[in-house]
Subunit: 121 residues, 3 copies
């Protein structure tokens, strides 16, 4: 049987720590149940792909985003970032967390339409 | 045959009356077609779980949120609220609308992945 | 075999050009892969249904929204707008882009629950 798959689109960064953090809490909970999880960063959410950025984002009563993202990567989560969203923020490849994949809309559509659930934060 | 199921995640409260109200309009329309509906409150949306809070939220041209939430409950809708979101707002159990279930991320993942559609507002 | 179907709910207009534009980039990428696509406009997103409005919305590094919406229509995308959202903004039928369908919650529920993926922006 195919593994279940969850796609989580993140559209907030440090300007809204709770909306930036919750997606990774969800993602890690899904990974813990043996689901495949892809996080897709769009709009201000693309800032989360920048090395060391997450260590400056902290939502009250939640685990640290930095640690959540490390756990996410370790458990095999995939992280994609929207190309024009990166470009308009002058975020260049050398600034990205290792393993972040830069993708265009077609890939987002493929990911979302192959998922059992897609959440957008 | 299994009943269809819709999950609606609400991430806005009184600071955005329209985004707080529309999810319950959707939820009640889905309940009216015999679907199972679970509303999950996160971020500022958790305020909606507080007794009497909804009576102070009103979106122009929409039915009153208070009435929508009463109808939702009467038609069998389930309402869940995110534990850390409640905690960071000092919302305690005695303040919650009867029947509200406090849940962690694992439950949200289970709900979303078992739904035919998941909407996030 | 049934065609795949994507529903995209748009809840931002000119106040957030990137969140108004990305849904149509996604929509057109999905249409290009032979999926059926329905865009549903809610809250401030309903402004996008007003003729000539999109020509004043421009997100850095993205194609023009105006052109994206023209392509969307030409490729057969369906655009629905939430009735109370239009009403509260005094947007009347004569102001709408040709082909825009005004819908109540029941239609949104039907669309979302028949889709392979529903994204909310």
């Amino acid at each position: 049987m195919d593994r279940q798959k969850m796609v989580i689109i993140v559209t907030h960064g440090g300007e809204d720590p709770e909306r930036a953090t919750i997606p990774f809490v969800m993602a890690n909970a899904a990974l813990a149940t043996e689901m495949d999880v892809t996080v897709i960063l769009q709009t201000t959410g693309t800032w989360l792909a920048v090395k060391d950025y997450a260590s400056h984002v902290r939502a009250d009563a939640f685990p640290s985003l930095d640690q959540l993202m490390k756990d996410f990567k370790e458990m095999g989560g995939k992280m994609l970032a929207c190309v024009p969203c990166l470009k308009s923020r002058n975020i260049t490849e050398d600034m990205l967390i290792e393993g972040t994949r830069q993708v265009a809309a077609g890939t987002v559509v493929t990911e979302a339409s192959s998922a059992n659930a897609t959440l957008t934060y």
